[in-house]
């Protein structure tokens, strides 16, 4: 199983600033030392609202158009990025879907859509308190994020925060907003202090949300910024490192269910794990005396 390693930045918007390209942003993130990057696709809530008017073909046409988009196709691969990585094993690229949510009733389409399943991470940005509580208590997601201009006011208490953390949901603080505007900066700091006072800053990840390469910062700089956001030294470093790993693992368990082992065909093993198949065959030979082809093998999960 290939999990993420190193520092994580789980919020690189796929729609970046018109003066630059997504590739430039990702390349800079890799050069700065990030080991896992998530390309974020944000959708508005009206994509999820199902409006049905009988007999009106126009509306149906619009409805079909407004499906959840599939993950964007990238003009670079993980192998390209491995060439310029400065440390670590390899660079991992994930796809993330962020939904702006104001009404808890609109989540049905999100669950049903086929395209949702092709994303690795699913995040929700609740714009109202009701949506926040629903996301924390019931929705099967990985990240609850915060958007300073879309969200007016959020009210939640310790119980709701704990419900979310117990279900393995992480709260995201995007830092690139703080570079753009002082009022937004205040809002982000206020929100992160709210996480601190209500939830003791448990399950926090810090990510960029950078639209241009210049909005990205070195992981250690971001960890220092964490001090301003109410995290301690160790917490802010694990907000970039360990928590990212937990988010990625939580996303895998959303697809597979909670498991201790899973089965892979020996032909489909990644090159690093081919030796396991060989060892299995050797062990069988020793036990049975004669070789016998076997297709499946067990592999312990590393959760």
């Amino acid at each position: 199983m290939n999990t993420v390693q190193g520092f994580c930045d789980f919020n690189i918007p796929s729609q970046c600033s018109p003066t630059t390209t997504l590739k430039d942003v990702v390349l800079r993130a890799v050069k700065l030392g990030y080991g896992a990057i998530a390309i974020n696709t944000t959708i508005d809530e009206d994509v999820l609202i199902i409006t049905k008017k009988k007999g009106n073909k126009k509306n149906e046409a619009i409805e079909e158009k407004k499906d959840i988009p599939p993950p964007p196709k990238l003009n670079f691969t993980e192998k390209d990025l491995d060439l310029i990585k400065i440390h670590g094993k390899n660079v991992k690229i994930l796809h993330r879907l962020t939904v702006m949510l104001s009404d808890p009733a609109n989540t049905q389409k999100l669950i049903q859509s086929v395209n949702t399943k092709s994303y690795d991470l699913i995040a929700v940005c609740p714009t109202t308190s009701a949506a926040f509580l629903h996301a924390a208590a019931n929705m099967d997601i990985d990240i609850i994020t915060y958007h300073p201009t879309e969200v007016k006011e959020l009210r939640f208490n310790r119980k709701h925060y704990r419900q979310a953390t117990e279900r393995g949901i992480f709260f995201e603080i995007p830092y690139s907003f703080m570079l753009r505007d002082s009022t937004i900066r205040k809002k982000i700091i206020q929100m992160s202090h709210l996480y601190h006072s209500i939830g003791k800053s448990r399950n926090i990840i810090i990510s960029s949300g950078a639209l241009t390469p210049l909005e990205l910062r070195n992981p250690y700089d971001v960890a220092n910024l964490g001090l301003l956001l109410g995290l301690t030294e160790g917490e802010s470093r694990s907000a970039l490192n360990l928590s990212g790993r937990s988010v990625a693992l939580h996303a895998i368990t959303r697809k597979t269910g909670k498991c201790v082992s899973f089965i892979v065909e020996t032909d489909k093993l990644v090159p690093e794990e081919q030796w396991k198949a060989k060892e299995m065959r050797d062990a069988e030979e020793r036990l049975l005396g004669e070789p016998e082809p076997k297709k499946m093998k067990m592999e312990t999960a590393k959760i």
Partner: protein, 340 residues
């Protein structure tokens, strides 16, 4: 607890210690377990008119080797162990690592220290301990131990475990000094080259500078050693410290101080083992500091910089030798306590 501290941040946690030792003790203390036995940079700041030819030429003939894409288990093969590890001082470490997130391997004084991430640890099947500072696991194997003899089950198990891990393949810097003086240290490079790995010979870089007419701080009982270490670092980098606080910089030369005619600054960068560091320190300890005429003691300084794997605190060991039998030692390293 209600609102977090956002004004008075505490600095990153590091452990600073100062000792006063006798000269022979200092010689044994410097390459200690806490500081690690490998150094990346050595700086000597020598005020006065000493005979320093021996110091200048100290690393003239030394070399170390960079090996690309070498898997760990190649260093544990029977041939290698019997030819190099058991017949000399073998030092090796992986290059370009961030201690917090990257896997790394260090071989020092006959011990193999693997620092691996959780996923690899669970696959490896070798027992180890959780690292305090980061989330990784530490596995230590004593290569010179009797238990690790070539026909033991333990050895076979370790080799089998490491052989299959393709993630444990790194770029290395290696250094070898044979016990037998007739053998050339470069035979290590020849051996690795024969195995088909790319080996590059590297030499430590050396830089020398003389600063004239400069105020040099003295060591008295009230002096804070860390201020003097700061002054030494600034001088080595070519920063002049004004006598009075300036608008742009509040850095001054610590009191009491005296005017020295000549200060030699020698800087080496490369891969130095503790054995070499100890030899150089032995040379410096034999030199006499310049006499100032006052009762307060002048000094000679040698500073060792460790490899900065943890970017929060650099590991430094700075030794001040005085005219008497006493050395002042200042060390700074990553805190060994758990960071909350």
């Amino acid at each position: 607890m209600i609102s977090p501290e956002v004004v008075n941040f505490s600095p990153p946690k590091s452990l600073q210690q100062t000792y006063i030792l006798k000269k022979e003790q200092a010689l044994n203390k410097v390459p200690s377990q806490d500081l690690g036995s490998h150094f990346h940079g050595i700086t000597a700041v020598l005020p006065g008119d000493n005979e320093i030819a021996e110091v200048q030429d100290f690393f003239l003939d030394t070399a170390f080797y960079k090996v690309n894409q070498l898997p760990v288990h190649k260093l544990l093969e029977a041939d290698f162990l019997s030819a190099f590890v058991k017949k000399g001082h073998f030092d090796a470490r992986t290059l370009g690592m961030w201690g917090e997130v990257d896997q790394s391997v260090i071989i020092e004084s006959g011990k193999l220290c693997l620092s691996v991430c959780k996923d690899t640890y669970q696959e490896l099947g070798l027992s180890g301990q959780a690292e305090i500072i980061s989330s990784k696991q530490n596995i230590t194997i004593n290569l010179l131990d009797e238990k690790f003899s070539l026909d033991s089950n333990y050895y076979k198990r370790v080799i089998w475990c490491l052989k299959n891990q393709t993630s444990l393949q790194f770029d290395w810097i290696v250094n070898w000094y044979p016990h037998d003086p007739d053998i050339c240290p470069s035979s290590l490079a020849a051996y690795l080259d024969l195995l088909g790995f790319q080996v590059v010979r590297c030499q430590p870089s050396f830089e020398e500078k003389i600063v004239n007419e400069i105020n040099v701080p003295l060591l008295c009982s009230e002096t804070d050693i860390s201020d003097v270490v700061e002054w030494v670092g600034a001088t080595a980098l070519g920063i002049t410290c004004p006598e009075q606080e300036d608008y742009t910089s509040s850095m001054t030369c610590p009191e009491p101080n005296y005017k020295s005619k000549k200060v030699h600054i020698l800087k080496w960068k490369g891969f130095f083992s503790a054995r070499q560091a100890k030899q150089l320190l032995g040379v410096i300890l034999k030199l006499q500091p310049e006499s100032t005429g006052s009762s307060v003691s002048s000094w000679l300084n040698l500073t060792f910089n460790g490899f900065d794997e943890f970017q929060i605190a650099s590991s430094i060991c700075s030794v001040f030798t005085t005219a008497s039998d006493i050395c002042h030692v200042f060390t700074n390293q990553t805190s060994r306590r758990k960071i909350k």
